[in-house]
Symmetry: C3
Subunit: 247 residues, 3 copies
Amino acid sequence: MVKIHPTAIVSDSAIIGTNVSIGPYSIIYDNAFIGENSVIEAYCQIGYPSIISDNDIAPTYIGNNSLIRSNTTIYHSAELGDNLTTGHNVIVRENTHAGCYFQIGTFTEIQGDCEIGNYVRFQSNIFIAKKTIIKDFVWILPNVTITNDPTPPSDNLIGCLIDDYAVICSGSLILPGLTIGKGSVVGALSCVTKNVRDGFCVLGNPAKETKEANKIIKKDLSGLPAYPWTNHFNRGYPGNITMNWNK
Amino acid sequence: MVKIHPTAIVSDSAIIGTNVSIGPYSIIYDNAFIGENSVIEAYCQIGYPSIISDNDIAPTYIGNNSLIRSNTTIYHSAELGDNLTTGHNVIVRENTHAGCYFQIGTFTEIQGDCEIGNYVRFQSNIFIAKKTIIKDFVWILPNVTITNDPTPPSDNLIGCLIDDYAVICSGSLILPGLTIGKGSVVGALSCVTKNVRDGFCVLGNPAKETKEANKIIKKDLSGLPAYPWTNHFNRGYPGNITMNWNK
Amino acid sequence: MVKIHPTAIVSDSAIIGTNVSIGPYSIIYDNAFIGENSVIEAYCQIGYPSIISDNDIAPTYIGNNSLIRSNTTIYHSAELGDNLTTGHNVIVRENTHAGCYFQIGTFTEIQGDCEIGNYVRFQSNIFIAKKTIIKDFVWILPNVTITNDPTPPSDNLIGCLIDDYAVICSGSLILPGLTIGKGSVVGALSCVTKNVRDGFCVLGNPAKETKEANKIIKKDLSGLPAYPWTNHFNRGYPGNITMNWNK
């Protein structure tokens, strides 16, 4: 059973899994694959062809159990794993590859040619430049900018690497080619100009190393460390992933 | 008389006031109420249900004389007062309550569970985290971020309070749980890390108190103080509100 | 030959050039002119009337060979030259005048009453306040904010001037009324509080002059200066423009 709204426009070459729903005014382009049980809301475009490209439309892959909220545009050649969730007005461009349980907030744009791991969460209004690599369990908060051109404009684009469990707080900007270390924390509205060491916190413009992340205490009455965040937070992750986190 | 474009999709359980206009390709969901004389432009969604919620669709309320510009999405359970105006591509999420004459600029997102007073003006591309409280006559300029999680990710969200007549200038970020005092001014691209006192100006990253707001002089030839702004600015407010402002 | 999707809504008073294509669910309003060979994708609005205006709908002009990506809204009275390209969800408001080969990135908003030269490139999520003047060959990177009100809210709006070949890097903010000099470079996440001299680089919050732009070396193995950028970059410009750049 597939539920396609009568106003949706679906290419004959699209492959729509069982129990998929496609909302009003959405467009599914050639060679799009939508995994079973997924919901595509209103005004979405899946498999959007880049008109300025010379190529044919490459296949686009949306995994099972995904929720694509309204006005989201996924370009052709993107491959996004199972249990994807997007906010509204999300743009994912060509050759973006992401693992499972990826969440992308409203107004976020991924410029393409990006590799994104599993269980990654982007909040709203984030800009991810081409060639960015993001590993597993990363968190990026609203209004973060990840850049790739050290001396714009140029043809020398150098992507950043955001390593496992790193947290980049709201409004921060990462200069091109930097590595944000495993389990590190970038404080709000920081301009990161140097690599961030695994497990450290940086803050400011320009950002300076302030302390080990595990020295940051939660702002509640617990008195417990805020990091590693997996010690106290597991909302939205599957149980087989989090069962050992709090131990 | 109600003017519904033939391509609009309107739920039978929506209540549409007299003299309302609903534009092409818009969707009005169950239990939405739209007050009289309001204009809903193209591609809007009013009463949008959060699919991941277990609840039924709660009523949504849009006051009289409102103008909802194209591509705006108002979630179910939002209650927005008379004379609302939105820009394009605005997102207002669940349980946002706002008073009258609220203006929300293009690309602004209100994450929900927010209380917003009367005569508040948001410009473009603003991010308002859950649990934010905004009082009356507040101004927020473009690209401001109001946060709520002191150590993300966590379940310990602490909303900010923005008090009456405060002005938050472009690009600034407010850390979680802070109070921005009455009639205070946050300068551009500031990172506010402490409460701001009533009537004071703060500036910088991290923001520091610079002077009393009423010591800021207008950048015209008048030589007059720029604050309280009600002494020289009343554009767009109703006359019964502004009649005593300049005295 | 004009190719109008059956779901597009096109005013009888619009003038559509030869070989134009208009995508699904787009709306072309009264008095819009679309130059030949242009592509208007899905969900676009061209000649959008400001409802709160008392005026009739002024003519809107889109030049030849333009590509307007999905969800873009161009207000009535905008005049945009040949070879315009927009990203998705772009907003261009009233009385914006731009030359040829203008590129505008996704989620960018131009507030109107702006003068923009030839060969200008805006990337994503940029906010351009009213009364901004931008000359030729300017580059603006993602998440830049150009302001116009020195003491908001006020009626004393003072636009910035961005001069030829200037580059404003990601996340920066320009205070009202400033001039960003010819061939200058504003570093990332900078708050520009003073005029920037021709050919100089500024950086930081508040921004300080750091060096002449031609002392910035490319971050590749060439050891060559990154600026003037026309010495090494010409992607996307027409050959008759770039033929003398590298000499």
